[in-house]
């Protein structure tokens, strides 16, 4: 990945995570990514226009529930946190992707976004993403998170 994109993506991920879910993520090497306990979710925000590609975030189910609880001001054991976990992952991808692409696009150019889509991950998908060179890994309160930015057309200014 373009180092400028990499750096901007990591910055936006940490900032949005703190502002949206009041959680803090530290970038780690793929080998230091905390283990995924249970299911994993991938939420992807596709975009096209002056910039084309996608921004995907990947989190464990436990982290998704923790993010939902924190966003809503509830305890992680609250049933509403579990109910909203997938919605929160999708929204987080939307906010991170939107802010990142807005930061990367040349001023005055148009980028069209599609609504984010969510996938439940199998173990082999999780491992493949962890080892992908376009993936950045994060430790969020001892839970795993990954960020994957794919640019098919770059008009990068940041």
């Amino acid at each position: 990945m373009n180092p400028q994109v990499n750096s901007a993506a990591s910055r936006v991920f940490s900032k949005v995570l703190a502002e949206f879910a009041f959680l803090f993520g530290d970038a780690v090497a793929p080998g230091e990514l905390p283990a995924c306990d249970g299911h994993g979710y991938l939420a992807c925000l596709p975009f096209r226009g002056a910039l084309e590609g996608s921004v995907a975030i990947v989190v464990s189910e436990t982290l998704a529930v923790e993010m939902a609880a924190s966003t809503l001001g509830r305890e992680p054991g609250d049933p509403e946190a579990a109910q909203r976990a997938q919605d929160v992952v999708r929204e987080l991808a939307s906010i991170i992707g939107g802010q990142l692409v807005t930061a990367l696009a040349e001023p005055g150019t148009d980028v069209e976004f599609s609504p984010p889509v969510l996938f439940a991950l199998q173990d082999e998908d999780w491992e493949r993403l962890r080892q992908d060179s376009q993936t950045q890994c994060f430790d969020v309160n001892a839970h795993p998170a990954m960020l994957r930015v794919v640019l098919n057309r770059e008009g990068v200014s940041a």
Partner: protein
């Protein structure tokens, strides 16, 4: 007497966060309506009275951009204060929305203190122009 508020976002969590942010920031709300798409919002705005709308842009079906255009065409942007709440949109696109009658644009994630300030501005509680 509080405001009749409509939150338009395909994320139920964002709608819940808007409701909570209004409550926490002390904005008086008489009725809080929710729509998960532009189409549903358009129907509710025609059938029910709302003073203030918080609207996402990137939604399945009718987008926020299309909803604003429909509201402008139907003459509703003069009587209903529409505030865009989104993480997408270039400065040119947001300026275009404002030129059509959108009162303010807020960036996600939403902060209660910002929400209150913008509500006061767009509802004429203070005389500052909207952000």
């Amino acid at each position: 007497m509080g405001y009749n508020v409509l939150a338009v976002d395909d994320s139920s969590t964002v709608r819940a966060v808007i409701a909570k942010a209004l409550r926490v920031s002390g904005v008086e709300v008489s009725r809080f309506g929710e729509a998960s798409s532009g189409d549903e919002a358009l129907r509710m705005l025609h059938e029910e009275g709302f003073d203030l709308v918080f609207c996402d842009l990137n939604m399945p079906g009718m987008t926020g951009f299309e909803l604003v255009e429909a509201l402008r065409r139907d003459g509703l942007l003069e009587s209903v204060a529409v505030v865009v709440v989104s993480s997408i949109g270039s400065s040119a696109a947001l300026a275009d929305l404002k030129s059509k009658g959108v009162r303010a644009c807020l960036k996600k994630p939403l902060r209660p203190e910002t929400l209150r300030r913008v509500v006061e501005q767009v509802m004429g509680v203070t005389d500052e122009s909207a952000s």
